[in-house]
Amino acid sequence: MSDNLEHSFVKQLQENQNIIHKICRLYTNGDDAHKDLFQEITIQLWKAFPKFRGDSKFSTWAYRVALNTAITLYRKTKRSINTIEFEGRQHFLNDVEYDYEEEEQLKLMYKAVYQLNDIEKALIFMYLEDKDYQEISETLGISEVNARVKMNRIKGKLKKILNPLGV
């Protein structure tokens, strides 16, 4: 593959890398696993890049490949308890007004999202990224109606995790 193609790919990926980081954060725990998945997604994106025609945005295209890699192709699943992730995040809220209660709620919410299965995480991910149901359904290969129904169920599930007694 030509140097030009390589250069264009590396540049675009570098600019859009947060997409991949976010997926890695959702699907892995710990730095090593994060880096590992990041690398695999990068390789898959690079392998698919010659077929990327640019009729969609690089980021839209990258969402799909990255999610597919995380859900389908990636094999190493290191299981450990996800507590490390949230600790390092406090500093963002510090510079705005610090709200202890909000901070606590956020931590619980992140924890709850981690408990979802791979497919549910994909839906939540796209919801958090403000994707519409049409894009969600096209990415996962399910109908739009069913994507909506599933999303509502996930919200219910999250509520239940946050408040298991239903009070």
Binding site: V65, T69, F92, L106, K159
Partner: protein, 201 residues
């Protein structure tokens, strides 16, 4: 859901929370080898094709006394299995080529599972043939021994039964072995595929 809105707000703010990977690091990454399951399925499948096909060369050929019809039967089967092997390899290659990381998640999973299925059918077919040929040869052996009548009939019969059970156990072990390899390799994929299908019911 109030908490979800809160999460969404925080999520969209979190862009600058990640340690940025430099262009040089990305250059290095794209030259590394993938560890995706597709690659492993491809490698293992090729090994399966090669092993199964070379096995037929290694098997002892002339140990048993063959009558004319049996000999013709085995020769026909030999040629037939080359054709069948080629057909399966063509199917496998076609399915493998259709795997695309840019198709939607459900389709990608289906393509991978289909590729895998082709090889599984090939193995199933081979196990069946091995069993089938063994039965034909054994029954032929019994017939010949009975006709020449120079040995105790009951003993030959007993030996054949033992051999048959032995072959069955061998086939069973091979089958279990495959279940194990692909069970490990495809566990996550199967689980996620089932989940995705459940949504679309």
């Amino acid at each position: 859901m109030k908490e979800l809105d809160l999460l969404k707000k925080d999520w969209q703010k979190s862009d600058n929370s990640f340690e940025q990977v430099s262009e040089i690091e990305i250059y290095k990454m794209i030259h590394k080898k993938s560890s995706s399951i597709v690659k492993w399925i491809f490698i293992i499948s090729i090994i399966e094709f090669v092993v199964l096909n070379s096995l037929s060369f290694l098997l002892p050929d002339d140990k048993m006394s063959k009558s004319g019809t049996i000999e013709i039967f085995i020769t026909v089967l030999d040629y037939l299995s080359y054709g069948v092997a080629l057909f399966f390899m063509y199917l496998f290659y076609k399915n493998y080529r259709s795997i695309s990381v840019t198709s939607n998640t459900k389709k990608l999973m289906e393509c991978i599972l289909n590729t895998r299925k082709t090889v599984r059918y090939y193995i199933g077919y081979n196990l069946f043939i091995v069993f089938f040929v063994a039965v034909i040869l054994l029954s032929n052996e019994i017939q010949i021994k009975f006709a020449t009548n120079n040995d105790d009939g009951a003993r030959i019969f007993f030996t054949c039964i033992v051999m048959l059970i032995f072959i069955l156990i061998l086939v069973g072990i091979v089958w279990l072995f495959y279940q194990l390899i692909y069970g490990i390799l495809l566990k996550k994929l199967n689980r996620n595929y089932a989940e995705l299908k459940k949504i679309d019911l």
